[in-house]
């Protein structure tokens, strides 16, 4: 075991050198790094959000909200389809138990109605490579001439999947506007989106991500007052919405609005924050698409003198009166905004609306102050732990303790090197993992040294004792470390964020421990034996 071929020595030394090179970028400032030759590794260890401060936000697509909206839209489609000439008489059209239901008055028209509604089942393309197309809806029929359109499971699943994809796109556009450094936005499981953004204020981020930002313009129905409509029932085809409840100066006011919007967010090409030239109040200016501008022009020329409402996510931002036809294709939204609110709203409008509401189901944010404190605490703990472990090794094993300590330093260097090369994230529990590795890494050396002692006592010559000590300790080291590795791998599977960081350092620590104990320490000892030719058991 004490003989090393030259290529083996070269390989071991090379590994250590690569480890050192991989760690170096972490110790150098970025400016120096940029000037170094290209072949050197430049990756630095990524600090987890708990160390650099930042927000971990887990959102879930609001399925109910989507289903609700979609069913309402389908109800409208059904109405239009049945009203088309020749008209089919119907009754009881509405959403019942998660499906759209309608009863055909005249049983003779049932076939025709079925024909028309079956066009609304909306086949979705499953994939490029064949596979039968999936229908979004299924048309079923009850005994009393009642037809029902309900979601198919596959159709809904596929919808949710594409909604998550679209939402990720929208969220990315919004966050990019903020200019935050390297946010990570990814899908989690079936219907979730994980947003991780370092640094800064989480509140603005949460406002930007969590807002659906569905903007619509509606004409106000002035035939009945909002208060009255709330007491009785709004006329058919209208709905009652209120102005913002958060406004301190004005209580929420109800308005009766036409249900179908004049314009929606899709008709906007641009939105920018600005200021009112007279009052200097912050506002948002927007430009419409050509078709949007034409429609808006027509409607405003026909309705001079009536108010229209600008609605964001079912809340009225403002309800100005149309004073003259707006044909220029641009306009402005004012609604007692703060500068920040105007800015955020224009970002939201530019990035577009989310296809469905997002619900925040898990939030973890760490301020930069705590992150810095954690790094400092972790560093102190690591240094103290290293000194304590190193001292006890020297006290107990003397020279071989020094070898073990050199191995320990190498071990930590290799571990940090691996973390850098893999671009792994270092978290506070990760630092704990490194410190724990320090404590446990010497175990391999202890096993070897104790074995050498035993073999010496059994009457072997020192060199033979060292040789057999390494050989026999190996199996033990392997078995003992594989079990810990299994625990670490499972921890990684389970974990989120910081805990994953712990599992990663623990697992990598085991790999580097086995390497340093079994190859690097052995090489050190072998070189020493070759030079000293010891005559007594050295440990």
């Amino acid at each position: 075991m004490l003989h090393f071929a030259r290529w083996q020595i070269v390989l071991i030394v090379l590994t250590v050198v690569v480890g050192i090179l991989a760690v170096l970028p972490n110790l150098l400032p970025r400016s120096v790094l940029a000037d170094m030759p290209g072949w050197l590794p430049k990756q630095q260890i990524v600090l987890g959000l708990d160390l650099q401060g930042g927000a971990y936000l887990l959102y879930q697509v609001d399925k109910e909200d989507y289903v609700d909206k979609r069913l309402r839209a389908v109800t409208n489609e059904v109405r239009q389809s049945l009203r088309a000439e020749p008209r089919i008489g119907y009754t009881g059209l509405g959403v019942v138990d998660g499906g759209v239901q309608v009863r055909v008055r005249d049983a003779n028209q049932l076939d025709e109605a079925r024909e028309r509604l079956s066009e609304l089942t909306n086949p979705l393309n499953q994939s490029l490579f064949g596979g039968s197309a999936v229908d979004e809806f299924e048309l079923t029929e009850a005994s009393n001439a009642t037809l029902r359109l309900a979601f198919t499971q596959e159709g809904l699943d596929q919808r949710i999947r594409s909604i998550v994809d679209q939402s990720i796109e929208v969220v990315r556009r919004r966050i990019d506007e903020l200019g935050t450094t390297e946010p990570s936005i990814q899908r989690e499981g079936e219907d979730r989106i994980l947003v991780e953004a370092p640094g800064g204020e989480p509140e603005q981020l949460k406002g930007l991500v969590g807002t659906t930002a569905q903007l619509t313009f509606h004409l106000v129905d002035t035939s009945i007052s909002g208060e009255e409509a709330m007491r009785t029932r709004p006329p058919a085809g209208t709905m009652v919405l209120t102005t913002s409840e958060d406004d301190e100066f004005e209580p929420a006011r109800p308005y009766v609005l036409e249900e179908s919007p004049l314009l929606s967010g899709e008709d906007l090409v641009d939105a920018q924050p600005g200021f009112d030239q007279q009052t200097n109040e912050p506002l948002v200016t927007f430009r419409l698409t050509t078709s949007g501008a034409r429609r808006f022009g027509e409607v405003t020329s026909r309705n001079v003198g009536t108010p229209f409402a600008i609605v964001l996510d079912d809340e009225i931002i403002s309800a100005p009166v149309i004073r003259e036809p707006i044909t220029g294709g641009s306009g402005q939204i004012s609604g007692s905004f703060s500068v920040q609110a105007a800015n955020d709203l224009s970002i939201l409008l530019r990035a577009g609306a989310l296809p469905a509401g997002l619900t925040l189901v898990e939030e973890r944010t760490v301020g930069p102050g705590l992150g810095a404190d954690s790094i400092a605490a972790g560093e102190t703990a690591a240094i103290v732990a290293a000194v304590l472990v190193a001292l006890s090794m020297i006290l107990v094993y003397g020279l071989f303790g020094v070898f073990a300590n050199i191995a320990l330093v190498t071990n930590i260097v290799l571990l940090m090197g691996l973390l850098s090369l893999l671009g792994a994230t270092l978290t506070l529990p990760g630092i704990a993992g490194i410190v724990l590795t320090m404590g446990m890494a010497v175990d391999a050396n202890v096993l070897i040294y104790e074995r050498i002692r035993e073999e010496g006592k059994a009457g072997r010559t020192p060199i033979l004792a060292i040789d057999t000590g390494f050989a026999r300790a190996f199996n033990t080291i392997l078995d003992a470390n594989v079990t810990t590795l299994i625990a670490a791998v499972i921890l990684f599977q389970l974990g989120s964020g910081p805990i994953r960081g712990f599992a990663v350092t623990l697992a990598l620590g085991i790999l580097t421990t086995v390497f340093t104990a079994f190859l690097f320490t052995r090489l050190l000892v072998a070189l020493w034996v070759r030079r000293k030719r010891p005559t007594a058991i050295p440990v």
């Binding site: 189901v361 760490v366 304590l388 003397g398 704990a432 724990l436 003992a480 625990a487 974990g495």
Partner: protein, 323 residues
């Protein structure tokens, strides 16, 4: 240069104390389970949902004053504790009724109240949906780890060892849960990490002892089981002590200097290392007797191993060829 010598060549009759040792462990296990059943654990927001907010005020704030301020917000059960230093407090608010959106109300209310006077160092909100999933995932992880490790040890050793190792580990897990229950330390995802690390460490220790038992079984075919276990434990004693000492030293450094956030994690780990060391000696080894690893055979059936000494000698003689 060597200033300390670890005890070696010991001949401590560990197995003579196995009955009282196992009995003590059983009592502790039963007590742990009883504590768990009666008082339960202080589940953190990861598993129960709710919010945790860590604040740093400009100057020390009396907790009582904070309590009455926050009480006026009607947030239900609220725990307020000093966190590390007098200016820092940790506020834990129970899950609010009304689903996911309702949880955000807590943070908004606290920001309104303290946004001007305190730094929000940490905010964690876990909604009801996620907390249920996290609890399930945590339980699955611990069970899966136990099974995976049992499978590995079964592969490498005889089944007795696998069962012994898992029972020993289970013992450590139960005592760790007992610790969490007795101290009412927050039990959260980090605690699951602690439990799994303890599982890893305890097994490491157990496997090292078992490894030596296996080796001695081949070497001393006629030695009685208690004797053989004693020998194995004594042979490994200095290693067991040394590794526990260095690990505990590292953990103590973490406990004192590693900051408030991971203090409970480190505390559980220290306990786990102590329990794991104890159990690898006093639980893992006796279990091999209980599981009847070596039925009471008294030689004769294996002529090659007629003599302990010559068996050892053979092993030694065969050595140079192996290396």
């Amino acid at each position: 240069m060597k200033l300390l010598t670890l005890p070696s060549d010991t001949n401590i009759p560990f197995m003579r104390w196995r009955v009282p040792a196992v009995a003590t462990s059983l009592v502790l296990c039963v007590a742990s389970i009883a504590l768990f059943l009666i008082f339960g654990m202080n589940y953190g927001i990861d598993f129960r949902g709710g919010s945790v907010v860590e604040l740093r005020f400009e100057e020390p704030v009396p907790i009582g004053e904070l309590r009455s301020d926050i009480g006026s917000l009607n947030l239900g059960d609220v725990q307020i504790v000093e966190f590390g230093q007098p200016t820092d407090v940790m506020i834990r608010v129970e899950e609010q009724p009304g689903g996911e959106e309702a949880q955000q109300r807590v943070v908004i209310a606290l920001r309104d109240m303290f946004g001007e006077v305190a730094e929000f160092r940490r905010v964690e909100v876990v909604g009801p949906r996620v907390s249920g999933e996290l609890a399930r995932a945590g339980a699955i992880a611990v069970v899966a780890a136990l099974f995976a490790i049992m499978a590995y040890i079964w592969l490498r050793f005889e089944w007795h060892f696998a069962v012994g190792a898992v029972l020993t580990t289970l013992h450590d897990v139960i005592l760790t849960i007992g610790l969490y229950s007795a101290t009412q330390l927050d039990f959260n995802l980090t605690s699951i990490a602690a439990v799994l690390t303890i599982v890893g460490y305890s097994l490491n220790d157990t496997v090292v002892v078992y490894d030596r038992v296996r080796e001695n079984l081949r070497r001393f075919k006629r030695m009685s089981m208690p004797e053989l276990l004693n020998l194995s434990i004594n042979q490994m004693l200095s290693r067991t002590l040394m590794t526990s000492i260095t690990t505990v030293l590292a953990l103590i450094a973490l406990f004192i200097f590693g900051g408030e956030v991971i203090r409970s994690f480190t505390f559980a780990m220290i306990w786990g290392v102590v329990v794991g060391t104890f159990s690898s000696i006093f639980i893992a080894a006796p279990l091999l007797i209980t599981l009847n690893l070596r039925p009471n055979r008294t030689g004769g059936d294996d002529p090659a191993a007629a003599d302990d000494e010559s068996a050892a000698g053979e092993a030694a003689a065969a050595e140079p060829a192996r290396s």
